[in-house]
Symmetry: C2
Subunit: 483 residues, 2 copies
Amino acid sequence: MVDKVPFDDDVLTADAPEEEGARPDDRIDDERHDHENRLKPEYIRSVREALEEGDNNAVYDLVEPLHAADVADLLELLDRDERAPLAAAITDQMTFEVVAELNDHVREDMMEALPPEAVALIVEQLETDDAVQLIEDLDEGDQRAILAEVEAEDRAAIESALAYPEETAGRLMNRHVVAVPEHMNVGNLIDYLRSEADLAHEFYEVFVVDERHHPVGTCALSWILTTPRNISLTDVMKRDQTLIPVDTDQEEVALMFQKYDLISAAVVDDTGRLVGQMTVDDVVHIISEEAGEDVLLLSGAGDGDINEPIREAYGSRVRWLIANLGTAVVGSAIIAFFGAAIEKLVALAVLMPIVASIGGNAGTQTMAVAVRAIATNQLTRANTWRIVGRELRVALLNGATIAVLIGIATGLLFAPQLGVVIAVAMVINIIIAGMAGVLVPVIFERLNQDPAVASSVFVTMITDSMGFLAFLGLAVASGLVSM
Amino acid sequence: MVDKVPFDDDVLTADAPEEEGARPDDRIDDERHDHENRLKPEYIRSVREALEEGDNNAVYDLVEPLHAADVADLLELLDRDERAPLAAAITDQMTFEVVAELNDHVREDMMEALPPEAVALIVEQLETDDAVQLIEDLDEGDQRAILAEVEAEDRAAIESALAYPEETAGRLMNRHVVAVPEHMNVGNLIDYLRSEADLAHEFYEVFVVDERHHPVGTCALSWILTTPRNISLTDVMKRDQTLIPVDTDQEEVALMFQKYDLISAAVVDDTGRLVGQMTVDDVVHIISEEAGEDVLLLSGAGDGDINEPIREAYGSRVRWLIANLGTAVVGSAIIAFFGAAIEKLVALAVLMPIVASIGGNAGTQTMAVAVRAIATNQLTRANTWRIVGRELRVALLNGATIAVLIGIATGLLFAPQLGVVIAVAMVINIIIAGMAGVLVPVIFERLNQDPAVASSVFVTMITDSMGFLAFLGLAVASGLVSM
């Protein structure tokens, strides 16, 4: 299953001769990285100390061996007021790669501290997509000041990107594509690539286009390299390809790359002309962003980035807490309605939070599953009712189990009848929770709202109030306590 | 910024001549896919109907135009008992690509229905890594039965993969690598690639190895294609590369690919020999799995896959609910302790859930942020205390805001003094929530536990009980109500 390599040595040989020597990896577990490839606290401390002593040469030597991505990590791990001094100490190591790898908030923060010309110099070295990322977060004024300094061709590319809405293919795509006409054969292509000076540093596919510049096929570089020179590209290329319209949302793009295992894909405008490409290395960041986002959105943590300015973090989170304050009041109103009953039997006050909170947990479980399934296109109109039925069955099993436990405990500690009441209330609330957990996100999705954003406020409100209502209501209805 | 293509047409031209004609994309918005590239319910329905009528030819024609990944989606969207009939109706379209794209649970379910020989045939067509994925979930017996049918070389590869622990590079890597000796030049390499029959269908990098088969550098294919034949590989290759030890956890691998923007990376055994490679298309699935996992783990939804058998879903979720039952009891115990006070002033019972639930929400927000930051290596020992300080400040702002709102409302609806009590209790609980939200996940991480798994049980317990304790305790301590 392994390609023979031109010397008698088989990659597969399981039992290779033991050899001493450090671990092969040149990054993990060295003096600067821990076993999880994070910069060691001791290393960070030594950089800090050198910075405090103002010993820039020491700082420079410490940072020198780092990969650009690690320099970016280092800047993020330092305190806000330590970043500028570090950048100053390592000037020529502050390459555009480092800037491209920086967390958005940290980058914005640092860029605003630099003069426009300096930022412009960085922008010109970046690929359009990275340049756009750097610029899009800055405010109008800074943007114009910087673009004014940027060389015309690059500015045109950046401005055309900024013309597309955020988080769409048009904004994110790389305009640097290798596009060749159909009449070429493998030999022509290789000669062209060797002769062409300013090609992208790395590319993974060559796009074959017709006279109207519409993509007609793609060639993976590995196909070209394994094919004789005289074969025509049209015999090598794959015609069935995934074309990404410029206005496609990044989440959609990410799902396509996952679904069709793409390395790169052509981006086309609404006339079908090739205008750029998305490559998997950009998409990888989108995927982890989109997938990680759900947990933050569901918990109302907004952007949820530890580098987000406190003001913004407060703004997004407090809005959510106020919304939950509203829903909590609904539950309290129900409790207030049964105030008389609670006065007579304080055990109700002791037990009612249990019914509500277990219901809340059951609802959150189902909701998390539903939100993920919707986000990954696994839960669609085609199977909604099957999933609802599935969650109903799970809820029945969970409800029965919890009801027995809490029912018996309550029956023994308080009164048998109260045990029955709480058991029944628990089953009811867990079933309601299960249904709300699926249906609320599904409904939001049908209304073209992001299910992750608003679902949990509603689900919690439902499980809280239904929990109190079922428990207190049954207690009164069963004649356990009068009002 | 775009490479000149050998005819006078500029990719960048923003205003291309309008042309009629359908949308260029061959998948989105066709008669089978909706705008989000999901199979349309109408399409699924027509397949269902054809299946019910037993009209296999109609089924075949309906499925024929689909991409393998879409056939897999179709199987997943259908009910469990419809899958076998569909597979039977489209036999030769049930390619190994389809099997590789199937959801683990659905695949396992379908494979168990097939005879070992049939599965063996599929296994032999799959890349080792996909074959292993297919086999690892089946039980011992089935595994042996299938492997017995598999041709020797493939079996050896699969067994050596199964020898590594699940979710490690050794288990996931593709053993199909192109490894060449240092003495080659670009020309030799291209000739070798053209002559070599059974190369991987697609590869993105060529690994240069020494006599001991240790990687000394990698060449991106684009570098090879843009370099004259007579240049030596050692002048083209990148020496500074990320090598992945076989025992590296998949989450680690995913983070490396993201951090260093890798397309593929060499996997080495503990003697430093090249034994395989990880490619980004596999990593893309790991990334979305690992990132999406957090929301499911935090909510105790276990695997959280809508295709997971009900029994398993029940098992993982009920365990969680029982744990939460335990924590809820702690809160109830505190309420019970203040039973006398509640009897005298039922307003306490009405308001106490608000204090607890808002605290719970605040805790969840911080916890979600912390868990994501830990998972992405942004929150490490180096900046823990800065983040704790940050969250403390956000908590103070949130606490003050909510306290004012609830305090005034309570003061007006009930009694001024009760307004003060609930306001203070709210501030206390939100601050405790903020601290617990960061510290609990951090502590679990230090104990080498996955912070996403157990954090929320503890955070909820803390916010619930502290909420009740602060509110009821202050009410009594302030002399508002006696016990």
